[in-house]
Amino acid sequence: MMEMQRTIKYDADRVKGFGREIMNVPGCEQLEGCIQCGTCSGVCPLSIYMDYTPRQVMALTRGDFKNEVLRSHTIWLCASCYACTVECPREIRITDIMYELKQRAIHAGIYPKRFPIPVLAREFSAMVRKHGRITEMLLVMKLFLKTNPFAAMGNWRLGIDLLKTGRFSLATEKIKQHGDIARMLDATDAKKGSRA
């Protein structure tokens, strides 16, 4: 039997106040003035892979459709190239709104299976907190081991190239005052008093 699915959104799907909450975040204020022209979707090099285009994400966010945007693939496909931000005629900092949505999805524990970006963000921030610097090869290895070990094997050629060209290094880079980073990050939390 054919599965019936509703394709339009109802008022009941909204999480009232979500849009306003986002528009109160520093850098996201201009969302209010979005005219839905679609310039962002047109210039985005990744919109062809997105479930909702950037224009739709702007409308859904402003319209309080929290669950839809936080579960969308779009926020994880954004590569932070800022093309939309520069082109937007209403000066909406779309890239920064995408960052805000990513943060909220991570915070809400919404980690879509197909997208290891939240894992990357988590491993990245843990490494910075501990050592103050990123050892890139170590980060890449961790990412693959925690998400898709088979993909890592598929990249054997890359590994060999890096070995041959002297770029494969797992020696941990760290700063001398490494306790300082954790102290600063904790002091940031203490003053904000909210999100981790």
Partner: protein, 299 residues
Amino acid sequence: MKYSYFPGCSLKGLGRAYEESLLPVMKHLGVELQELEDWNCCGATAYMAVDEAKACVLAARNLALAEKSGNQQLLAPCAACYLVLNKTKHYFEDYPAMKATADRALGAVGLRYSGNTPVRHPLDVLLNDVGLEAIKQKVSKPLQGLKIAPYYGCQLVRPYSTFDDQYNPTAMDRLLEALGGTVVRYPLKTKCCGGSLTGTVPEAGIRLVYILLHEAKKRGADCLATVCPLCQFNLDAYHAQVTAEYGPVLVPTVYFTQLMGLAFGLPDKELGLNRAAIPFKWRPAAAAAAAPKPAAAVA
């Protein structure tokens, strides 16, 4: 001319050829770089997806260290570091509350930041502080006959166009021409390389890489010149995946500083030219050929 130098993690890691070529080239031009004492990761794009206040705090520690060092100007060669450090400065100017949060976090480790450290990219310093004339005088082996696609990527000019046009940047074009190279028209010069998507969502990332390489090849470029370690890595290291998906487009990608080094006649081994997976084999002719061109042959 003296600057604090913020290498960032990539220039000590996968992008080490950038540092290897940047340092001798700057020294050759009499620009003194002092590595920022105990610098930390700028946070890059990854940390912005975790928490922007903390991302700004991470960047601010480096700005504070630069201020403390006494060299007011901070040189950031990596496009991502350059963006994050500039973005943090903008946040602090636009949102005093964020600056106050960062001040308290810095205070917890005995640092302070007044907000005045200018963040500069090597291209900016080369064109506006050193000057193209001074650079031309150092060219002993012009890049004659080398066709170069100038690839700036996103984050150097977006969203903050501090020293160049954000739609059609030309700083690197002018520099490469001053070195004697031929700059091909490359309309994709600021199109995104996919950033970390090459690793996280390869079907999307690899396609963006392919588009850039294919266009360079179509335009007849012998190589792409880049200003960003992640762009260089993406365009170079994923050649096997690109080939498997779309067929071979083996155009080498080099840092603009490596081309400068070649034009200055610096030895290959000082320029990290052995670091690329797609080897860049072209070399300028010996110094003799660098003599002024004879009058045009009579047809």
